[in-house]
């Protein structure tokens, strides 16, 4: 059973960007769980003055959509402020990938959740209020 993946999805799957971890990251967030078969972990390096995300890395356990979504999502928040990054939506990620199969849209939702979790981790460690967010336990 082969899903119809766009070229962008295949590109980010075969050559994912920003794979890895950041030691002493400013914010770390994880979303998903082994039961649903998708886990994404995001590491952030945030500039203390400008609040710009200087570096972002990810690790993902999951299918091609999951890997492509995390890769694209990290590309989209790199160099953005933490406010701009918070506004990243799963639909924007899916659109940037030229679309995901409907059954795989939850992978982009997971990417959004992982980034929000990482940003909130940063916020709580730096004396900022945590922003309420949805958790998807699938």
């Amino acid at each position: 059973m082969a899903l119809d993946y766009s070229q962008k999805v295949m590109d980010h799957f075969i050559n994912p960007r920003n794979v890895g971890e950041i030691e002493n990251a400013d914010g770390v967030g994880e979303a998903g769980n082994p039961k649903c078969g998708d886990i994404m972990k995001i590491y952030l390096k945030v500039n203390p003055e400008t609040k710009v995300i200087d570096d972002v890395k990810f690790k993902t356990f999951g299918c091609a959509s999951a890997i492509a979504s995390s890769s694209m999502a990290t590309e989209m928040i790199k160099g953005r402020t933490i406010e701009e990054a918070w506004n990243l939506t799963n639909n924007a990620v899916a659109e940037a990938l030229d679309g995901l199969p409907p059954i795989k849209m939850n992978c982009s939702v997971l990417a959004e959740e992982a980034i929000h979790t990482a940003l909130n981790d940063y916020r709580s460690k730096h004396g900022m209020n945590v922003i309420p967010m949805e958790h998807h336990e699938d």
């Binding site: 082994p34 039961k35 078969g37 886990i39 299918c63 959509s65 890997i67």
Partner: protein
């Protein structure tokens, strides 16, 4: 031959008819029987009986070489199901903790290797293989399962090729997996 099949029916069983109309096959399946197909089917069985033992030996040997090779070259690989005579001669089924099945399939496909998986992501229903779960596998192991089936057209070179390609794929995808990282920590290897 294509276009004919056989069903071994337990005495007393009366399944619902697919095709209604005439009373052929004792009223179980209407429509004139595919005579040429049935004769061909019988012939196929005769041929099969003649080569079954040889096929079984050749397949089992290749199967076991692939299984042994994977266990040797890929750390923390788990064979699913029985070994030896209790195992289908043509079936190889593994779980690789830390990686997901659809990902493995696509990576293998890019190298010209076809396989299948029991991962949820690769099924229409987003459920992992109920068979693997019934075998007692945890979800993450079911998600990381990979099945190869071999046959008369499989060659030793094919087996060698898979053993060349698969370890690298598993290693690459494990390196980017938080589940693999956590697993290594949990067994004290990181």
């Amino acid at each position: 031959p294509k276009g004919v099949g056989a069903l071994y029916l337990k005495k007393g069983m009366r399944p619902e008819n697919f095709i209604h109309g005439g009373a052929q096959e004792k009223g179980r399946r209407a429509s004139t029987e595919n005579l040429a197909g049935i004769v061909g089917f019988g012939e196929a069985i005769e041929i099969l009986k003649g080569r079954l033992n040889d096929d079984k030996a050749i397949n089992s040997s290749r199967r076991d070489r692939l299984i042994a090779g994977i266990l040797e070259r890929i750390p923390h690989a788990k064979l699913n199901g029985a070994t030896g005579d209790n195992r289908l001669p043509n079936n190889i089924n593994f779980s690789f903790i830390g990686v997901e099945g659809e990902t493995l399939l696509l990576d293998l496909d890019s190298k010209g290797i076809s396989a299948s998986t029991g991962s949820a992501c690769s099924s229409e229903s987003l459920d992992p293989s109920h068979v693997l779960l019934a075998l007692g596998l945890k979800h993450e192991m079911a998600h990381g399962s990979l099945r190869f089936t071999i046959g008369r057209l499989t060659t030793d070179e094919h087996i060698d090729y898979v053993l060349d390609v698969l370890p690298e794929i598993v290693a690459k995808r494990r390196a980017m997996s938080p589940l693999w990282e956590d697993y290594l920590k949990s067994i004290g290897e990181k």
